[in-house]
């Protein structure tokens, strides 16, 4: 088993919380894991990505080869497209549809969505609205993770346990909110 995931977004959007949740779950599942992050200059509103690799045998490279990713998880639609060179032919792309516009030449949102439609196996959902409807606008990242969960090679419960562990320090309320977001994302993806 191997599952190579590209996490994408804009610096400050918090893709590392998704990475950390999957990482925690992977450790509990006794999987090998490597996760390359971007720190430094790009974290100031630039494009950021993380290469997350899971496997049941030793992983060598910290970086995923081009055409090798099984999954792109993105919290921003244009950023999802930036990493298509890494996606395998059979890979899936799961992304938030809400653009993060901090550049003056951001393309037409309609064109971005159309381009995502041409990208093959894609799930595009408005994670921000789903999170807001749950009363926690800030848990959009967990909605996206939930939507991608069926493509990550581990039981859903492992991700739930990881969320409990991740947010446990911040109190039971935070745990529940994020679990709800995770499940809502899963259900929204399943409905497609």
């Amino acid at each position: 088993m191997k599952c190579d995931i590209i996490l994408a977004g804009v610096g400050g959007q918090g893709i590392l919380s998704i990475a950390a949740t999957i990482g925690l779950a992977a450790v509990e599942q006794n999987l090998f894991l490597k996760q390359a992050e971007v720190h430094g200059m790009s974290q100031r509103g630039g494009d950021v990505q993380s290469h997350l690799r899971l496997s049941d045998r030793e992983i060598f490279s910290d970086l995923i080869p081009h055409g090798g990713a099984d999954l792109i998880i993105s919290v921003e639609p244009m950023e999802a497209l930036r990493y298509l060179p890494w996606l395998s032919d059979s890979g899936w792309l799961v992304t938030n549809s809400v653009p993060f516009v901090n550049i003056s030449d951001y393309p037409e949102v309609g064109e971005v969505v159309a381009e995502l439609g041409r990208a093959g196996n894609t799930i595009v959902l408005d994670a921000d609205s789903i999170a807001r409807d749950l009363g926690s606008a800030r848990s959009g990242n967990m909605v996206i993770l939930g939507a991608a969960s069926s493509f990550i090679s581990m039981p859903f419960k492992a991700l739930e346990d990881a969320v409990r562990k991740m947010f446990g320090r911040k109190g039971e309320e935070m745990v529940e909110v994020n679990l709800k977001a995770l499940r809502a994302g899963r259900d929204a993806a399943a409905a497609r």
Partner: protein, 539 residues
Amino acid sequence: MHKLLLLGDEAIAQAALDAGLSGMYAYPGTPSTEIMEYIQASPQAAEGGVRREWSSNEKTAMESALGMSYAGRRAMVAMKHVGLNVAADAFINSAVTGVNGGLVVVSADDPSMHSSQNEQDSRFYGRFAMVPVMEPRNQQEAYDMIFDAFALSEKYRLPVLFRITTRLAHSRSAVTLREKIAQNGVSLPSNPRQFVLLPAIARKQYRALTSVYEKLRTDEVIDGFNSLRAGNGRGTGVITCGIAYNYLMENIIDSQADYHVLSVGAYPVNREKVAALVERCDRVLVLEEGYPIIEEQLRGLLDRDVTVLGRLDGTVPRDGELNPSIVARALGLKAGQGREVPSLVRQRPPSFCKGCGHADLYQALSEVMAEIGPGRVFSDIGCYTLGALPPYNMVNSCVDMGASVTMAAGAADAGLFPAVAVIGDSTFTHSGMTGLLDAVIKNSPITLIISDNSTTGMTGGQKSQATDRLESICLGLGVDPDHLKVIVPLKKNHEENKAVISTELNYHGISVILARRECIQTASRNKKAEAAEKNKSRE
């Protein structure tokens, strides 16, 4: 044994603590920052009384670590690759003095310049200083190697250079911890003259160093990190350095028998081992994350004894970091290929955070400069370098820490008036103060703007040595109190700030403007921490 999920940087930090570290010294710099951050946050370090304050710059960090080593205890110093330039004087001479307690110098290189102004390879410094260099291949090895690095340092009485690159520094993996080693007690060097580099002593010690360096090639520990694995027949030979091994294995995991592989993890390399590889094959591919150092040595000046493939003949790109696809192509294998990036995808360069004080400063400065003319703003290394990008397009230089002050002074000496320097508070105390002293003594007519956000912002908000000290430092260096101004870069102060900048720009002498507003990232973090603290005390 205990297992943790750690960044390469964190693995190094945890290893140092477990290996009996007494003092950690560093200046923040991507991708090395997390080493000190981890040690500062570590309860184990607190319990062991490990010294772990940030230093003003890499040179002071290196020297303090050397002092701790002098006193017999284990010390580590960490910096980014260009930081080693700043520390180079102390570093090179520390090889001649040698050490007492184990001393490990971590230098984190940034090939592809993700967050740097060049991609220099620290291994060159290792050869230059003639010290052992270690280059771990993965997080677990980074952890384990630190124990060997301290032991080697104490065995040969030499500092050990520990070289990593961005992808190891900032990649996370599971690490199994070892038994902890107790800290050394304080002890003086057995030779009281060891650290006195007067020419007569230095000559003797330097000669000894040159002979020790040759012995290092066959040291059991160093050689043990360089493994030769023979393949079948006269297949292709590959030499990998550090994490390049991972990219090789990514490609040949199922066809290993076709290759003879020498995987290098420590230097200097045993010549016999290289010879054993070369004898087995017709050509050798060298894969290095960084400069073609081993490749150049293998080619030699005449480049005719061995057929070598690598960065110098174009088999591997001459610059930039490696990745599995580049290595696949270098091996003549089919590299994976995904889809093209759609043409509508735009560049998204880093930018100022919403509400950043640097942005308000640049807005005011750009309006003043618009009336004066272009090409007069020298800047420095930090978030405020982003003033070089649209919409400001303000900054005409970004060279090295502190260079804004001295370049502005040099340009002013040449007759460029007004000349402006924009530097951050932490960069100013790192390397700007001495330049300001020069400018004061020469009376170079510059306007120095210290954009004081009271933190080291670009690297994530570490403590700044400048906080609460800038006025007294500037006055102490001889700046005229009438031309030391403080402004608060906020939209509501815009016109007032423009007036101050304009007045000082027209002054034919040294002016310093402190543009002071806390970094909004650290401000919001501090606010959250305070709120959490309040909640806690209520409970």
